[in-house]
C-alpha cells in the first residue's frame, strides 16, 4: 500500500488557509488519488487560528493528520509557524509565509497559492491538475494573478531544493 501524504495548512481566519487546502485536495483528487480533508469552521472565521488537514494516497482512513505525522506544514501567518510545528514528522518540511518573497507577488492575498506552488514541487501531482484546481476554486478575474503566484512558489522551491 502506498504511503499516505499528510499536509497541514495553517493560518488565521481570512488568510486563505481553507481555500489553499481546498485547492490542494482538489488537485490530488484530479490526479487520481484518494483524498480526505478536515478542518473546523465556525468560530475560527473570526480571526482565530485555522488549520486544515489534507491527506491523500491510495486509501485514506481518518481525515485528520495525527500529530507528528505531517510530511508538510504550510503556514500563512508568521505567528503560526512555531505553534504548529509539532504536527510535523521528523524531517517534515515547513513552507512559512517568508518562503516566497512577497515583492514577487502581484497581490499579497495570493500567498496561499504561492505556497501551494512551493509545496507542489515535492508532491506527485501533475502541474496541470494543480492549475485546474486553482482555476476551479477562484473567480476568473483572479486566475492570472494566482497562476503566476503558483509558478513563483514552484520556482522558488525548485531553486531551494538544488544544492
Amino acid at each position: 500500500m502506498s504511503r499516505v501524504v499528510n499536509v497541514v495548512v495553517a493560518g488565521l481566519g481570512g488568510q486563505g488557509a481553507i481555500k489553499a487546502s481546498d485547492i490542494l485536495a482538489d488537485a490530488a483528487c484530479r490526479a487520481g488519488h484518494d483524498v480526505k480533508k478536515a478542518e473546523i469552521h465556525g468560530m475560527s472565521q473570526r480571526g482565530g487560528s485555522v488549520t486544515s488537514d489534507v491527506r491523500f494516497g491510495e486509501k485514506v482512513l481518518s481525515p485528520m493528520v495525527p500529530r507528528g505525522e505531517a510530511d508538510f506544514l504550510v503556514v500563512l501567518d508568521p505567528d503560526q509557524v512555531e505553534v504548529n510545528r509539532p504536527v510535523l514528522r521528523d524531517g517534515g518540511l515547513v513552507f512559512g509565509p517568508d518562503f516566497v518573497d512577497e515583492k514577487t507577488l502581484t497581490n499579497r492575498k495570493s500567498l496561499n497559492v504561492a505556497l501551494l506552488g512551493a509545496l507542489s514541487h515535492h508532491l506527485d501531482i501533475p502541474e496541470a491538475s494543480w492549475l485546474e484546481a486553482v482555476r476551479a476554486a477562484l473567480p476568473e478575474r483572479l486566475h492570472d494573478v494566482n497562476e503566476k503566484a503558483f509558478r513563483v512558489g514552484r520556482a522558488t522551491a525548485a531553486r531551494a531544493a538544488k544544492p
Binding site: 483524498v35 480526505k36 482512513l61
Partner: protein
C-alpha cells in the same frame, strides 16, 4: 494513470463535505422541501441543497422548521430538516410526538453534533434523543456514507412511516471525502391530503394506541437493522474486536488496522443480536465511541460483556492518537492541545462601541449566542451569562427580579437579530407580562444577518434563504406591538456617544425599553447592498410575488428612527 484493472469508470467521484453530500442525496432522493435553522456544523446542507436547485428555506427556529417539515410530510412529501445538536432541544417538543403521529411521506431530521465544541456551547450526545423519542437513527462515517445514508434514511422513513434521525458530527459534516453519486429513489407520489384523525390528532385517546403502534414499528425497524448493510463487520484479529460508529470508524481502522471491528451505522434501534455475535467472536470486545457511553450502556443492558473507554475520553473529539491510547488502556495525561489563537470580534465589527459602553457603564450583561458572544473576550469582558439561544431575555429578567435595586438597574439583556427572532421573542412577551420593578433594558444587536454561521438570511432581513425579497419581520415593530414603553433604533458606530447617552437614560428610566443597535455586519454589508439592489430592480420590473414591505433601510448616522412612546 491506472494501468488496466478497473473497468470503465462509473459516475465521476466528487470531493464533497458531508453536508454537501447530504444535499446531493436529498436531491437524488426527491426531497420536496428542506427546512432548518442555521447552526454549525449543519448550515451548509440547506445552502448546498438550494444551490443544487432544491427547495430550501430557513425557519425562525428549529421547532418551527420541524413543524413545517412535519406538515409537508403529513401531506405525503419527502422532507429534510436540518439543525445543530442544541437545535434539537428546541425542536424536541414536536419531535417526541411526531414519533407517535408518524408521517405519510418521509421526514429525515439531521442532528449535527459538535463533540469537542468547535463552535457550540455544549457537547451533548444526540444519540440519546433517538432512544428518548423512540425514533430510528443512522450515523454515517464519511461523505459517501452521508450520501448513501440520507437516501437510506429517506427510504426507511417512507417505508415505516416514522421520522428518522441522522446524526452527523462536525468531522463528518465538514470533512471532504470522495463521493460517488448513486441511484437515489424513485419519484415520490404527489402530495395530497388524506384525513387520518386518529393518527394525527394526539389527544390522549388517540395518543395511547399511537404509542403502542410506535413500539411495534420500532420492533420491525430493529429486525431490519439486524440485517442492514449500513452496519459493517470487518473480520480481523480474533483477540481484539472494536465496536465503533461515525467518524471514529475511520480512526479505528487506522489506529488498529489488524483488529476485528464492527461499525454501527444503524445506531438505534441497535442490531443487538449481530453485536452479540461479534462480541462472542473476539477475546476482547472494546467499544470505542465518541461522546457518552451510549453503545456501552445498551450492550451491557443486553447482557453483552464489553469494555468501554476510560472516562477521560468522554470529553472532546476522538482521533487516531486517542483511539490508540484507548486500545492500549493508556490513561496517562494527554499532550496539551496546540496553542490556538482565539477568535475575536472583527476589527471593524459594529459591536465594538456597544461593548465599550457596556464595560464603562459596568453593566451586568445577560448575553446570548452569536458572534457577539465574543464581547466576553478582552478587552471588554462585557458579558456575564451565555446559556442558550434567546436565554439573554429570561436570564436578564430573572436577575432584575431578585437583585438589590442598585444592581438590578445595571442589568441589560443583549441579543442578536437572528437570535431575537429565533427565541428572544418569547422573552419579550415575558418582559411585558412580568415586568421587573426596575424595568428592563434589551439591546438587540442588529447586523442584518445571521453572522456567526456564515451570514444567513432570517425573517428580520426580509430575504429568503436564496436572498429573494419576502415578508420582513420588524423587531422594533414587534416590541411596540408588545407594548414596550421605549423603543429606539440607533447606529452605534455613527454616534457612539449618542448610543451611550441613550443607554444611560434607559438604564435610569425604570421602563421596559428596547434599543436596536443597527448597523450591517462588515463581512455581509457588500452582499446585503447587492441583494437589496437586485431585489429593488426585480420589484421595479414588476415582480410582486412576495409580501415585501417598504421597510426603512438600514440607517447611517445616529438617527433615532423611532423614539415613539407606547403604552405598557
Amino acid at each position: 494513470m491506472e494501468a488496466g484493472g478497473q473497468a470503465a469508470k462509473s459516475a465521476p467521484r466528487q470531493l464533497l463535505s458531508g453536508d454537501e453530500a447530504v444535499a446531493l442525496a436529498a436531491l437524488d432522493a426527491g426531497v420536496a422541501l428542506g427546512t432548518g435553522y442555521p447552526g454549525t456544523p449543519s448550515t451548509e446542507i440547506l445552502e448546498s441543497f438550494d444551490a443544487l436547485g432544491g427547495r430550501a428555506q430557513w425557519a425562525p427556529n428549529e421547532k418551527v422548521a420541524l413543524e413545517v417539515g412535519l406538515g409537508a410530510a403529513f401531506a405525503g412529501a419527502r422532507v429534510l430538516v436540518t439543525m445543530k445538536h442544541v437545535g434539537v432541544n428546541v425542536a424536541a417538543d414536536p419531535l417526541f410526538t411526531a414519533a407517535y403521529t408518524g408521517v405519510s411521506g418521509a421526514l429525515v431530521l439531521i442532528s449535527a453534533d459538535d463533540p469537542g465544541m468547535a463552535s457550540s456551547q455544549n457537547e451533548q450526545d444526540n444519540r440519546r434523543y433517538a432512544v428518548a423519542a423512540g425514533l430510528p437513527m443512522l450515523e454515517p462515517s464519511d461523505s459517501q456514507d452521508a450520501y448513501d445514508f440520507l437516501v437510506a434514511a429517506m427510504a426507511l422513513s417512507e417505508r415505516v412511516k416514522l421520522p428518522v434521525m441522522m446524526r452527523m458530527t462536525t468531522r463528518v459534516c465538514h470533512s471532504k471525502t470522495l463521493v460517488e453519486r448513486r441511484g437515489g429513489l424513485p419519484p415520490a407520489k404527489a402530495p395530497t391530503y388524506e384525513r387520518d384523525i386518529p393518527a394525527r390528532v394526539m389527544v390522549p385517546g388517540y395518543a395511547r394506541p399511537a404509542h403502542r403502534k410506535l413500539r411495534t414499528r420500532l420492533a420491525e425497524v430493529q429486525k431490519e437493522h439486524e440485517r442492514s448493510p449500513l452496519n459493517l463487520w470487518k473480520k480481523g484479529d480474533p483477540k481484539l474486536g472494536i465496536v465503533t460508529h461515525g467518524i471514529t470508524w475511520e480512526h479505528v481502522q487506522e489506529a488498529a488496522p489488524g483488529a476485528s471491528a464492527f461499525r454501527v451505522g444503524t445506531s438505534w434501534p441497535l442490531p443487538v443480536e449481530r453485536l452479540r455475535q461479534f462480541a462472542a467472536s473476539v477475546e476482547r470486545c472494546l467499544v470505542v465511541e465518541e461522546g457518552d457511553p451510549v453503545l456501552v450502556e445498551q450492550l451491557r443492558a443486553a447482557g453483552i460483556p464489553v469494555e468501554g473507554k476510560p472516562e477521560m475520553y468522554r470529553f472532546g473529539e476522538l482521533s487516531v492518537e486517542r483511539v490508540k491510547r484507548i486500545v492500549a488502556g493508556d490513561t496517562s495525561p494527554e499532550p496539551p492541545p496546540l496553542k490556538a489563537t482565539p477568535p475575536r470580534l472583527c476589527d471593524a465589527c459594529p459591536y465594538h462601541p456597544v461593548y465599550d459602553t457596556l464595560r464603562r457603564l459596568d453593566c451586568i450583561v445577560a448575553g446570548d449566542i452569536g458572534c457577539y458572544t465574543l464581547g466576553v473576550m478582552e478587552p471588554y469582558r462585557a458579558m456575564d451569562t451565555c446559556v442558550a439561544m434567546g436565554a439573554s431575555m429570561g436570564v436578564g429578567l430573572g436577575l432584575r427580579h431578585v437583585l438589590p435595586e442598585a444592581q438590578a438597574r445595571r442589568v441589560v439583556s443583549i441579543i442578536g437579530d437572528s437570535t431575537f427572532v429565533h427565541s428572544g421573542i418569547n422573552g419579550m412577551v415575558e418582559m411585558v407580562y412580568n415586568p421587573p420593578s426596575t424595568g428592563h433594558v434589551v439591546i438587540v444587536l442588529d447586523n442584518g444577518t445571521t453572522a456567526m454561521t456564515g451570514q444567513q438570511e432570517h425573517p428580520g432581513t426580509g430575504r429568503t434563504l436564496d436572498h429573494d425579497a419576502t415578508g420582513k419581520f420588524s423587531i422594533e415593530g414587534f416590541a411596540r406591538a408588545c407594548g414596550l414603553q421605549a423603543v429606539d433604533v440607533v447606529d452605534p458606530v455613527a454616534d457612539p456617544g449618542g448610543f451611550e447617552a441613550l443607554l444611560k437614560q434607559r438604564l435610569a428610566g425604570g421602563q421596559l425599553s428596547l434599543i436596536v443597535a443597527r448597523r450591517p455586519c462588515i463581512l455581509a454589508a457588500a452582499d446585503i447592498r447587492k441583494f437589496e439592489k437586485v431585489n429593488a430592480e426585480k420589484a421595479a420590473a414588476g415582480c410582486r410575488t412576495c409580501g415585501a414591505s417598504d421597510e426603512v433601510a438600514i440607517s447611517s448616522g445616529l438617527t433615532v428612527l423611532d423614539g415613539r412612546k407606547g403604552k405598557a
